[in-house]
């Protein structure tokens, strides 16, 4: 072969061509290095961003228990039928998938004999906003519907039975004001409570419950598992789920053990019956709230997961205001239950002694005005103890005029009136201890002796809450320790040691001389135990009860509207229970409330006995 022809291939030309090709391949390699090695992480991040979705899984909400471990708020499983849309999807337009889902829903509805709960716009909205998540078609199915579904389950690929926890209040109405209720949580608030330094953001949040009132609200952060679970869903280009990985198991909220005794609570609510009123039962040894009842009430189960508007409207229109917690937010004139305050102030001032006697003709003349005693014909000349026993107004007017209004107001404040007790419940009201400054500010008038007289017997502008009155009754019981109400005994985390809540004395409590409080307590014992005491209907056969009744007029003068009260504690020597009992629009403290106090204390001590008893034949009858 000769290579000398005119169109001979030149080797250098071929080599140059090879060089050009190799050089351009070099360009490709450099570009690949840039993409895959230099910027690999950035592209990895973009891949994650477009194909991974995180879901916050709510943890199990902690329970609320009474002091003996009886569950007051618990969780129960709710069985749902859920559709996994990635298995029901149809190629092509979204409408085809929606149509298919609707067909499946109709068939399910037939099989389970349940009306269809979702419309095509719900399905469409779910497909647009929450594509990778299962669509819950029916919630809270009964056993029959579950059985019907399970029988046909194999005919429904992409449909499964799922379980959701639902808050339940086993005792229904009992303690509703104290426990409160839960409702759908606000996602923006979940962010605030997420643990750790970085607020973790998720693409999707599953419906979660948050406390909306009562203990459920106040202790929401404890009851709720703050570190929710994290589910990562790998989605395809359309947004359907491809795969999922559980990155973090949802946490579990702590249980809350209340100081409450469910049986006392039940007794208190039964005794309120259909009346409007409130009962607070306190342990005077430590300030434990053994019962806190307000009537009328509501069923907190109605609120989960959201309250039907018919029930809501009925609650709002009810004149008894069932949602309103009278025990902590109700402000009432205390009436004669306030009298020990006045007398303690008088004793403390030194102007009145235990043996100081005043004569009661049935009225007290103040200038041209006449302040009446409830006993129109008078009590005659009586001493301080008898004044308590008979609840004589005139003695109180005299004593109050002797020590002056400031001493009474100061004593009232030291007994916890006029300020919140700091119980862990929302919407607590402070009440009101009126004084000269208050009167000038609101009524543009100075304090008058008439105001002092009204205040002495717990009337006038004076307002207290049943809770305040109970804490004050407890202080009378224990001889002078004003406790901060202890609602919660323990917070019990799933892992870790229970956190004890210790009893705490309220700041600025009373400083009673033992001699003075002894006289007042003796007077209160006679109220119940003397045959002519105003609270004699509260007398128990085997336990010494002490107390004070009260009947406070309210509203238009002379209309006869009365708040009827009684405070009590027992046993007299070493009291373990103190009560404040209010019935709105009763006849009088002695007739309306005292028998209920008796019934309540009977039950309390029967409980205490059976609760502690070891021998069955221990009871006498």
């Amino acid at each position: 072969m000769s290579r000398d022809r005119s169109n001979q291939i030149h080797v250098w030309r071929l080599l140059l061509l090879w060089g050009i090709m190799a050089g351009l391949f070099g360009v490709l390699t450099v570009r690949l290095w840039n993409l895959q090695v230099s910027q690999g992480r950035e592209y990895q991040r973009r891949l994650v961003k477009q194909s991974l979705r995180s879901v916050r899984l709510p943890g199990a909400r902690g329970r609320i228990l009474d002091r003996r471990g009886i569950p007051l708020a618990d969780n129960r499983p709710s069985y749902c039928v859920s559709l996994f849309l990635e298995e029901l999807r149809r190629p092509g337009s979204v409408q085809r998938t929606v149509d298919n889902v609707m067909t499946v829903l109709d068939r399910l509805s037939e099989v389970m004999d349940r009306p269809r709960a979702l419309f095509s716009q719900d399905v469409r909205q779910h497909l647009r906003r929450r594509t990778p998540l299962p669509l819950v078609a029916w919630k809270d199915l009964d056993e029959e519907a579950i059985a019907r579904f399970m029988e046909h389950e194999s005919e429904f690929p992409g449909v499964a039975l799922t379980v959701e926890p639902v808050r339940v209040y086993p005792l229904e109405q009992q303690g509703c004001h104290l426990l409160g209720y839960v409702g759908r949580a606000d996602v923006s608030k979940l962010l605030d409570q997420a643990e750790g330094e970085d607020v973790e953001k998720f693409h999707y949040y599953l419906p979660e419950m948050a406390g909306k009132s009562g203990v459920e609200k106040r202790l929401d952060g404890v009851l709720r598992a703050n570190a929710g679970g994290k589910l990562e869903i790998q989605v395809d280009v359309v947004g359907f789920k491809f795969d999922e990985v559980l990155r973090r198991v949802p946490g579990q909220g702590s249980d809350v053990v209340l100081a409450l005794d469910a049986r006392i609570q039940q007794a208190a609510e039964e005794l309120l019956g259909d009346d409007r009123g409130a009962v607070v039962v306190v342990d005077p040894r430590n300030g434990d709230i053994l019962a806190l009842a307000s009537a009328p009430g509501y069923n907190p189960n109605d609120f989960v997961p959201s309250i039907p508007s018919s029930i809501w409207n009925r609650l709002l229109k009810n004149e008894g205001r069932p949602l309103y917690n009278r025990a902590t937010a109700g402000e009432y004139a205390p009436g004669s239950t306030f009298k020990p305050v006045t007398l303690l102030a008088a004793l403390h001032s030194g102007k009145v002694k235990a043996d100081t006697r005043y004569s009661c003709p049935g009225y007290y003349q103040l200038g041209s005005a006449r302040f009446r005693c409830w006993q129109h014909w008078g009590h005659g000349s009586i001493d301080l103890k008898s004044a308590i026993r008979y609840s004589c107004n005139v003695y109180l007017f005299n004593a109050a005029m002797a020590c002056g209004p400031e001493a009474i107001q100061e004593m009232a404040r030291s007994c916890g009136f006029g300020r919140k007790t700091d119980i862990s419940l929302d919407y607590e009201r402070p009440g009101l201890v009126p004084d000269d400054e208050w009167k000038r500010r609101t009524r543009h008038d100075g304090w008058r002796d008439g105001d002092t007289c009204n205040q002495a017997i717990g009337q006038g502008a004076l307002l207290v809450t049943p809770l305040q009155l109970a804490m004050y009754a407890a202080a009378l019981a224990n001889g002078g320790t004003l406790w901060t109400p202890r609602l919660i005994h323990q917070i019990v985390p799933v892992d870790g040691d229970p956190q004890e809540i210790l009893p705490a004395e309220a700041a600025g409590g009373p400083d009673w001389t033992p001699r003075h409080i002894r006289i007042v307590r003796e007077g209160m014992r006679e109220v119940v135990n003397a045959p002519d005491g105003t609270g004699k209907r509260a007398k128990l056969p085997n336990i010494v009860v002490a107390g004070k009744t009260g009947t406070a007029e309210y509203g238009v003068k002379g209309a006869g509207n009365k708040m009827t009260w009684m405070i009590a504690f027992a046993p007299y020597e070493n009291p373990t229970v103190a009560v404040a009992f209010l019935v709105e629009d009763g006849v009088s403290g002695g007739t309306t409330v005292a028998p209920r106090i008796k019934a309540l204390l009977t039950q309390v001590f029967a409980e205490a006995e059976t609760g502690a008893a070891s021998s069955p034949e221990g009871g006498e009858g």
Binding site: L17, R31, L32, V237
Partner: protein
């Protein structure tokens, strides 16, 4: 005895390295088409089995061409050229429309792309013209003649429209002219005229073609439409990192971000690059470079200029396909829908690429040897 001996000699004279490389590339292609059409739990789409069939058909064609003397095809080049032009005209008249373009001809139920056939026919006819004895390759007339020969299939393919395949013809012609010894001033002059004429070309482009070029220049312009594939393939390649995610572990095509309709064909490279990383991707490039080197060596050692030009032209086609395909998936070039030789799925293209390989082997077998 004699023909048998000649056949044995032919077989022994093959370019072993090239065959090994092609076999490796085919195996790589099958592997990643498997991955791209994998639906999980061993369910594999139809792409894979179809590809095996085409690899077998293509290999038979390559083997046959290998055994035959390439000079037969060079001699018959005009006929092929004429036939390919006829088919290209036919496809415009009775072709099957797919995605708005007439690229396919239905022959007894099998869809074929005449443009694939035309590429090889053009190389053959140019090899014949430029490699025939006494041709004065340095004259401008020869260059112009060669360009006119290339322009006919080019324009017909552009009309389909199939911009990618048409554009591949241009560098191939230039490669062959350059190898044949054309004067550099003529080549540069042609290039200059091409540049001047390109605005006119722009006006003749379809809207979607302009869109693609605009999107290439600014990918964020329309990320959900024409920029989507470019962006997603860059994410696939980039997220592969240095060593890749492992076989079947790539997610871009599984999740459909890299559309399943194109991932086994035009976008097989991102699938490979995501799963094997920089290591796998650069090894693939190296394999192609070695194969091109084999082709160039064959061109060098060819007995006659026609064989030499044939090998150069086939090398040019191979190079253009590899460069444009990989370049578009990593954002160096606009998306043109050009498959990756030996690796992408696709029937006509597989057969034409393997036929080209067979022709080069045929040249190689009949090379100049020292003992000859």
């Amino acid at each position: 005895m004699k023909p048998l001996k000649a056949w044995a000699r032919t077989l022994l004279a093959q370019d072993g390295l090239a065959i090994l490389l092609v076999a490796g590339l085919l195996a790589t292609g099958l592997t990643f088409i498997y991955s791209a059409s994998w639906r999980g739990e061993g369910i594999v789409g139809a792409w894979f089995s179809r590809q095996i069939l085409w690899v077998i058909i293509g290999s038979v064609v390559a083997f046959a061409l290998m055994l035959m003397d390439y000079r037969f095809w060079i001699n018959q080049a005009w006929w092929f050229y004429a036939l390919s032009l006829l088919l290209l005209v036919l496809v415009l008249l009775v072709g099957k429309k797919v995605y708005g373009a007439y690229r396919w001809l239905n022959i007894f139920g099998i869809l074929v792309q005449p443009s694939e056939f035309a590429k090889v026919a053009m190389v053959l006819v140019l090899a014949r013209v430029l490699g025939s004895p006494g041709v004065r390759t340095r004259s401008f007339g020869t260059v112009l003649g060669a360009l006119i020969l290339a322009a006919l299939p080019f324009l017909l393919i552009l009309k389909e429209p199939d911009l990618g395949t048409a554009m591949v013809l241009v560098p191939t012609v230039l490669f062959m002219l350059f190898a044949a010894g054309a004067a550099l001033r003529h080549l540069f002059g042609m290039g200059l005229i091409g540049l001047v004429l390109s605005p006119i070309g722009w006006l003749t482009l379809g809207n979607y073609q302009r869109d693609r070029i605009m999107t290439f220049l600014d990918p964020s312009r329309d990320p959900l439409d024409s920029g989507w594939n470019a962006l997603q393939s860059a994410i696939a390649v980039g997220s592969g990192g240095f060593s890749g995610k492992g076989f079947l572990n790539g997610t871009q095509n599984v999740l459909g971000f890299l559309p399943r309709t194109v991932s086994p064909s035009d976008f097989i490279f991102p699938v490979l690059a995501e799963e094997t990383g920089f290591i796998g991707a650069s090894l693939l490039l190296l394999a192609f470079l070695f194969l091109l080197s084999c082709y160039i060596r064959t061109a060098w050692t060819s007995k006659d200029p026609a064989g030499s030009l044939l090998a150069t032209g086939i090398a040019g086609l191979l190079f253009c396909h590899v460069f444009v395909n990989i370049g578009m998936t990593i954002g160096l070039l606009p998306i043109t829908g050009l498959p990756l030789p030996f690796v992408s799925s696709g029937g006509s293209f597989m057969v034409s690429t393997l036929a080209g390989f067979g022709l080069v082997q045929s040249v190689h077998v009949r090379r100049m040897r020292r003992e000859d």
